[in-house]
């Protein structure tokens, strides 16, 4: 009996140590740096943003401008045009310009910083490459954590950020617009989902 329990514990330990990429087949890196194709030529755009957080729904408009490589500015507006948040991401660091009191919280700003770093990141050095089912998987780092870009026919289908070998954050893309896909950001550890939908140019 004791031996069985020990064996069980060892199996649980081993499975928890299993790497996220165990089912992947390593291949030669096809590229050294990666930029999602929707960021190529990106200058500025406005998105409808919806946030589902613990049963609550928040909506508004997200205005995004590229200022330089890996340097973007964001403004989160409510539907009536009121500015709720205004910040920059410079080389993955958030610089806050303005936040209404209700949103000026470390946890909220940290979440936006890590999530938007995953979406708006260019020329990311590729560490490894894999084949996993129909996907070419590129492994890199964002927010000092492993990140996996899943590409199918050279088009990014999902981005997954992991921590302790487990999926933490998932970005999924649906290409309704040729310019920028619809994006859904979901988290494994908390019930917050962010939806981004490109608004037509005026």
């Amino acid at each position: 009996m004791k031996t069985l329990v020990r064996l069980g514990l060892i199996l649980i330990f081993l499975s928890s140590c299993a790497s996220y990429m165990d089912s992947f087949t390593e291949i030669e890196k096809p590229i050294e740096y990666y930029t999602p194709e929707f960021l190529n030529g990106f200058e500025e755009n406005s998105f409808k943003i919806s946030i589902e957080a613990y049963g609550n729904h928040f909506g508004g408009i997200l205005a995004v401008k590229k200022l330089d490589e890996n340097h973007f500015r964001f403004a989160f507006l409510n539907e009536f045009g009121g500015k709720m948040l205004d910040f920059e991401l410079i080389e993955q660091k958030l610089k806050l310009h303005y936040a209404i009191e209700a949103l000026n919280r470390k946890a909220i700003l940290r979440l936006l910083e890590t999530d938007f770093n995953l979406l708006f990141h260019e020329n990311n050095p590729i560490l490894n490459a894999f084949q996993a089912e129909q996907f070419l998987v590129l492994n890199a780092e964002i927010n000092q954590k492993p990140v996996y870009y899943f590409l199918e026919n050279n088009r990014l289908q999902k981005t997954i950020s992991t921590g302790r070998n487990k999926e933490k954050t998932r970005l999924e893309y649906r290409y309704d617009s040729p310019e920028f896909p619809e994006v859904v950001i979901s988290h494994q550890n908390f019930k917050i989902k962010i939806y981004l939908h490109l608004l037509n140019k005026n």
Partner: protein
């Protein structure tokens, strides 16, 4: 005819002067008349339907964020503020309740639950109907005649408003006295401009427009 640089600047200066003087500040008698006209227009109005265009200017963006839609008002404090482009979103105020439909996501809230929502409702009612729009307790207001229209420049004195805005400019039609434009300028000098057009007053608006669905 060739203009020297000096002549050009003199001409520009004169143009700027004309522009400044085209905003003549109202005398106290004219202010009284203007406010009385807005109030009388408001009292006679039982309903209003109009279009609006909202322009959000952010200094860091090259292009403004523009949205548009329809606005409905019916006496009894009923408002439907509906965005049609670039996405569907509407908010309805009716009987101390607020209903939001964000592209199918619906939410109903009691106005009594939040001072902010009560304020929002009051501001919207003021904007749409003209009633109580000149809040001299919370703003220092100066009044001007600009072309055929009237302009009220409202600078907040209330500390809660001062956190968000430096000035609200309201432009009223010089004949009908309804609100034509509302420009709200933030501390960063980014602004939101809402232009109202195609006003239709005192139509028989169906109650269904203001029902929560």
């Amino acid at each position: 005819m060739k203009l020297t640089l000096k002549q050009l600047f003199t001409a520009l200066g004169l143009l700027a002067g004309i522009f400044v003087f085209s905003q003549a500040q109202l005398t106290s008698e004219e202010i009284k008349n203007f406010k009385s006209n807005v109030s009388s227009m408001s009292k006679k109005m039982t309903s209003l339907q109009c279009d609006f265009k909202q322009t959000k200017h952010l200094d860091f963006m090259e292009n403004d964020v523009v949205s548009s839609g329809n606005l409905y008002y019916k006496s009894g404090s009923k408002i439907r503020w509906e965005y049609i482009s670039p996405f569907s979103y509407y908010v309805i105020f009716n009987q101390e309740k607020m209903f939001v439909n964000d592209n199918g996501k619906k939410k109903q809230t009691d106005l009594s639950s939040s001072k902010l929502l009560k304020d929002l409702n009051r501001v919207m009612l003021g904007t749409v109907s003209g009633s109580g729009i000149f809040d001299e307790e919370k703003f220092t207001i100066s009044y001007y005649k600009t072309g055929n229209d009237f302009l009220a420049k409202m600078v907040p004195t209330d500390k809660n408003y001062k956190k968000y805005i430096t000035q609200i400019d309201l432009t009223f039609d010089g004949k009908s006295f309804h609100l034509k434009k509302m420009k709200s300028t933030e501390i960063s000098l980014d602004y939101t401009l809402i232009e109202f057009s195609n006003h239709k007053k005192n139509l028989n608006l169906a109650d269904e427009i203001f029902s929560f669905k």
